[in-house]
């Protein structure tokens, strides 16, 4: 198909439909309303389910129902609404049900504002809901990646029977860039979900429960989940490496800040001849720790750049494990840093 100019919010919706998603439930919240509006316009026309729910709680639990019945299901929201969905994320993990949750982050805590921010990193990667679980988190860095990563999110969700979060911010939701969509997937052609509950239909009855009162069985369930998370870590860790071959200093940034950092890095390399590079985590959990650890053999300075007061930087520190120095620069609260600002910070790091 042809390239078209599309916003991040519309792209996530269109990509989900093309990836075979046939159930969307959501509640309005800025800056991701265009996603739900796109679903409202298109989902029912192709025989899918669309409901504007009474709350984010209801939306994620409708996702639970649709996913349990074996349908690719999605919900989307922005930070305060994602907080309300955490209970559902925990249950989806406990039930081992696949689903895709889109978080178009905004400033916080509390109501915060509607400007882009990256303050939900901890919530997204550390669980957010209760219990011993992990959520794969994918952070696209362009509109094309939003399309591709939406497909990937559904695939990972189905393959490992887990909720997957697509984490972007208000800027990624709103910018328009050219996108070429992958072809439509007919949901009928997806691998059959033998575990899905669709009535007994002449067979033995089955049930999905996350209540496991017997502690021995609960422990076993936790270890089974853990094994799954180990497999996801081994197979699904993704990152982009940008000019790291000759770098003296490596920036670590994801999503919007990675884009802005690339602008700064280009400026510093071209205009000032500084050897700086970037590792852009595409999966935030699992975090690309190995590549950082490997690079730290030669590179002694890393800078985490975030639109927060410092969240991902903790994963960078854990990954480097003391092998190199970790610096941090952040702009929280909905401020979008500028390339020139980042260039300044990186230059200082190189020269200090």
């Amino acid at each position: 198909m042809n390239k078209i100019l599309m916003s991040g919010n519309h792209t996530a919706a269109e990509a989900a439909i093309r990836a075979g998603c046939r159930a969307y439930f959501g509640y309005p919240i800025t800056p991701q309303n265009e996603l739900g509006e796109y679903m409202a316009e298109h989902m029912r026309k192709i025989g899918g389910a669309f409901i504007q729910s009474e709350s984010e709680l209801a939306a994620i639990n409708m996702v639970v129902g649709a996913a349990a019945a074996g349908v690719r299901a999605m919900t989307s929201s922005s930070s305060p609404g994602i907080s309300l969905k955490q209970e559902g994320l925990s249950f989806l993990s406990g039930f081992e049900l696949p689903a895709v949750i889109v978080n178009i982050m905004r400033g916080g805590p509390g109501m915060g504002n509607i400007a882009p921010a990256q303050g939900d990193y901890f919530q997204a990667t550390r669980g957010g809901g209760h219990g011993d679980y992990r959520t794969p988190v994918i952070a696209p860095g362009s509109i094309q990646e939003i399309a591709d990563m939406t497909f990937l999110a559904f695939d990972i969700a189905d393959r490992y029977r887990t909720p997957v979060m697509l984490l972007a911010d208000g800027m990624m939701g709103q910018i328009k860039e050219p996108v070429i969509f992958p072809d439509f997937i007919d949901p009928q052609t997806l691998p059959k979900k033998e575990w899905a509950l669709t009535g007994r239909g002449g067979k033995e009855s089955r049930y999905l429960a996350s209540l496991i009162l017997d502690s021995n069985k609960m422990e076993q369930h936790n270890w089974n989940l853990f094994k799954k998370y180990e497999a996801i870590t081994a197979n699904e860790t993704r990152y982009e490496s940008y000019h790291t071959e000759d770098a003296d200093v490596i920036v670590v940034a994801y999503g919007t800040t990675a884009r802005i950092a690339k602008g700064a890095i280009n400026q510093l390399r071209e205009e000032e001849g500084l050897s700086v590079g970037l590792i852009r985590p595409i999966t935030l959990w699992p975090f690309p720790s190995e590549i950082l650890y490997t690079l730290a053999k030669d590179v002694k300075k890393f800078i985490a750049l975030e639109m927060s007061t410092g969240q991902m930087v903790e994963d960078v520190r854990l990954a480097l494990d003391g092998r190199a120095q970790t610096l941090f620069y952040g702009r929280p609260g909905g401020i979008i840093p500028e390339p020139d600002e980042f260039a300044h910070v990186i230059r200082d790091a190189v020269k200090s």
Binding site: K3, L5, T30, P31, I114, A115, G170, M171, Q174, I175, K176, E177, P178, T256, R259, I260, A261, K262, G263, A264, I265, N266, I336, P337, E338, P339, D340, E341
Partner: protein, 177 residues
């Protein structure tokens, strides 16, 4: 090649449409593009601006510190963004709504009677398209036809709007000699 164009005006002047038509045109011409609208409480009468980046290579940052071109539709836009204009950059402003633009060293400045031209060619509300066409002529960034094709793509289904847009683009392009 990387050109960054900041369009700024008040809500309802078609500022975001300008950037959108531009980005779409550049994409159709084979460039890499990124279009970043300001968003939020933007509404008629408020301020609105957007940044369009056009490049022959993949675009790093959609956020731009120093635009190559500023298209200003109202006075507050000049006040807000002129300080970001670096030597070698270009300011195109709507002289029907903006007076007393301070001179700035090595910034090329083009006043356009956008409201008047739009009124004569189509409708005053098409002043944004007049400005956009004048900009591509000044910068040699794209052809008039590229803008017209993009407009058709985005507004072709609304016949009267599209006709006015074509006339306004023509008028803006012809105004620069």
């Amino acid at each position: 090649m990387l050109k960054t164009i900041l369009c700024s005006g008040s809500g309802g002047q078609g500022t975001l449409t300008m950037g959108n038509v531009l980005a779409n045109a550049a994409m159709q011409e084979g460039f890499f593009v990124s279009y970043l609208p300001c968003y939020g409480a933007a509404m008629r009468g408020g301020t609105a601006h957007c940044t369009t980046s056009i490049s022959s290579e993949e675009i790093a940052s959609p956020v731009v510190s120093f635009p190559d071109v500023l298209i200003a539709l109202n006075k507050p836009s000049v006040t807000a963004f002129l300080p970001r204009m670096r030597p070698g950059s270009t300011l195109i402003y709507n002289e029907d709504l903006i007076s007393d633009v301070p001179a700035k060293e090595n910034v090329r400045i083009y006043p356009i009677a956008a409201n008047q031209l739009a009124r004569d060619a189509a409708n005053e509300r098409s002043a944004n398209m007049v400005m956009l066409a004048a900009m591509v002529k000044v910068t040699s960034l794209l052809s008039l036809e590229a803008l017209q094709r993009s407009a058709q793509d985005l507004m072709g289904s609304k016949k009267s709007l599209f006709a006015m847009t074509l006339n306004a683009l023509q008028a803006g392009y012809a105004d620069i000699v």
